[in-house]
């Protein structure tokens, strides 16, 4: 049986009269990398802030490592790494000072890794944080979170401000570290959907404060496909209403984009049997899912 790392039960958050999160229920298992996607204002950052205890719950409960959030000890919290959507670090400290300040909180702090990453990303040790670019601050925030050797790494738009090369480098580090261990878990919110697709085991889609869908990447890749077909004449309604077709988008007079959730082979054969000009298969991506629910 898989070990639960994070468990959200009917999580609600209201700011005054406004409901920002409505009963979000979700599990995150140890060893997983889970993505959180959704349009701006969907409630992603609010959900992450609730998990991190920066916001108080309006309803529901959050369990981390099988313990209610409010009951977590300092030792439990030291197992959680967090990078916020804004890399706001102490401006009055230098890079080395903030590393030294941060290291004290984490018994499992990895100084060797920290030195290595600092060199690799060419962070100026004695430079005050206020003089760093946004990208460099984001790198520093990621290094701080990675060097505490967290069991659960929570990242809220961590790659904003990073150039594509740095983004890939950090993704590789996360993949190397977190896929090699069965206990280490990542929960990441990002708008870089292609990159999420590369690293995530599951993706949760949130919209207007509601969790619309949690899907395994494997399922998305294998089971969900899109058929693009341009028929020579109008197809019969029975073809378009075959079980397994989740969504139909029309392209021109006789062109269709069929989103297929299951029963793929039968639908594909039926389309192929009807006179057509074009018949193509596309694998579904997170981006397609994003468009479905937005």
């Amino acid at each position: 049986m898989q070990k639960l790392c994070l468990n959200l039960k009917k999580v609600e958050k209201r700011f005054g009269e406004k409901n920002v999160l409505n009963g979000v229920t979700m599990d995150l298992f140890a060893g997983e990398i889970m993505g959180l996607i959704g349009p701006n204002g969907a409630g992603k950052t609010t959900l992450i802030k609730l998990i991190m205890g920066l916001l108080n719950l309006s309803g529901g409960s959050i369990y981390l490592f099988s313990r209610e959030r409010g009951q977590l000890t300092s030792t439990d919290w030291s197992k959680i790494g967090y990078v916020s959507d804004e890399p706001n670090l102490y401006d009055f400290m230098t890079v080395d000072q903030i590393i030294s300040f941060n290291s004290v909180f984490f018994p499992q702090w990895n100084s060797e890794k920290c030195c290595e990453l600092k060199k690799r990303f060419q962070l100026p040790q004695h430079e005050p944080v206020k003089n760093l670019s946004r990208g460099m601050k984001a790198q520093l925030a990621l290094i701080l979170a990675l060097c505490q050797e967290p069991q659960l790494l929570i990242l809220d738009e961590p790659f904003d401000g990073l150039d594509p090369l740095r983004r890939i480098e950090f993704l590789n580090i996360i993949l190397d570290e977190f896929t090699s261990s069965e206990d280490r878990t990542v929960f990441i919110s990002s708008h870089y959907l292609e990159e999420l697709e590369r690293i995530c085991d599951r993706v949760a889609f949130i919209h207007e404060g509601e969790l619309k869908r949690v899907v395994k990447m494997e399922q998305l890749r294998v089971e969900e496909k899109t058929i693009r077909v341009v028929f020579q004449k109008q197809p019969p309604q029975s073809l378009l209403s075959m079980p397994g077709i989740k969504d139909i988008k029309k392209e021109g007079q006789t062109g269709y984009l069929l989103t297929v959730e299951n029963n793929f082979n039968e639908i594909y054969q039926a389309c192929g049997a009807f006179p057509h000009y074009v018949l193509e298969i596309y694998h579904r991506s997170i981006e397609d899912m994003f468009h479905d629910y937005s």
């Binding site: 920066l54 919290w77 102490y90 401006d91 009055f92 300040f101 909180f105 984490f106």
Partner: protein, 259 residues
């Protein structure tokens, strides 16, 4: 270790206030001690009939009284004037920086997501604030004492230091009120202005003899204790209970606040 780390961070962040406060206090202490003999000498040279004439006015009566006794002189320059003025100013600056400033700069999420409870986080901030205030406020008195020893002017130092403890305890009450205001605000300037306004409101009872004991700023001067011979322990006890109550309120607000 963790709390000490947080306190060090606060002190490092507020180091300029500490340095400026120390320099100001040391400078004031040096001036205060070295000019006493000169000023007191000037007063003794005033002819008797002129003193009788001047004694009709309260201001000059007070002035003559101050120069009669070095203990009263030190009290009048520090507790009755500089301590609460500097204290109030430092309170406004540090409280607005410590909480609303941290929210305004967005660093509060970094602070609160270190593995410490909110109460520990708040306690570290309050402890560093009290320490900083203590150093800033008490430094002037200590330097005054040391220079007086060197120069050879005697005063009732037990009275001066116990009055300083009373003043400090009441300054902490204002500091904790400032913390509450700053926790409730997201902008440091707004928090500073509101703390200042609250200070003005709290000083109002001090303008009327019947209600002056209710004024925080009147209590900061320790006038009842030094001049009127009031009791030390009840006054200290009341201020400590008040401080504990405000601290509990601050804890509750800080714990329930969304950041």
């Amino acid at each position: 270790m963790v709390i000490r780390n947080l306190i060090n961070k606060e002190l490092f962040q507020l180091r300029w206030i500490l340095i400026v406060g120390l320099l100001f206090n040391v400078g004031t202490a040096v001036l205060l001690v070295t000019t006493f003999n000169y000023l007191a000498g000037m007063v003794t040279e005033i002819p008797g009939e002129m003193i009788e004439m001047l004694a009709q006015y309260e201001v000059t009566r007070e002035l003559l009284y101050i120069f009669e006794d070095y203990t009263i002189y030190v009290w009048s320059q520090w507790h009755a004037k500089n301590l609460f003025q500097i204290g109030a100013l430092v309170v406004i600056i540090i409280t607005s920086t410590q909480f609303a400033g941290e929210v305004g700069r967005g660093t509060i999420s970094f602070y609160l997501t270190r593995p410490v409870s909110r109460i520990q986080g708040l306690s570290a901030k309050v402890a560093s604030g009290v320490l900083l205030l203590g150093i800033t406020v008490v430094s002037g008195i200590v330097v005054t004492w040391l220079i007086s020893l060197v120069v050879g002017i005697n005063a009732n130092w037990a009275l001066i230091f116990s009055a300083t403890l009373l003043s400090f305890s009441w300054i902490i009450a204002y500091y904790l009120i400032g913390c509450v205001v700053s926790i409730l605000n997201r902008e440091p300037i707004t928090a500073g202005v509101i703390t200042g306004l609250v200070g003005i409101i709290l000083s109002l009872p001090g303008f009327f003899p019947a209600t002056r004991f209710l004024s925080l700023f009147y209590q900061m001067r320790a006038t009842d204790y030094v001049i009127l011979g009031g009791s030390f322990w009840p006054n200290l006890g009341i201020s400590l209970v008040l401080n504990a109550l405000i601290f509990i309120i601050a804890c509750r607000i800080f714990k329930a606040k969304d950041f």
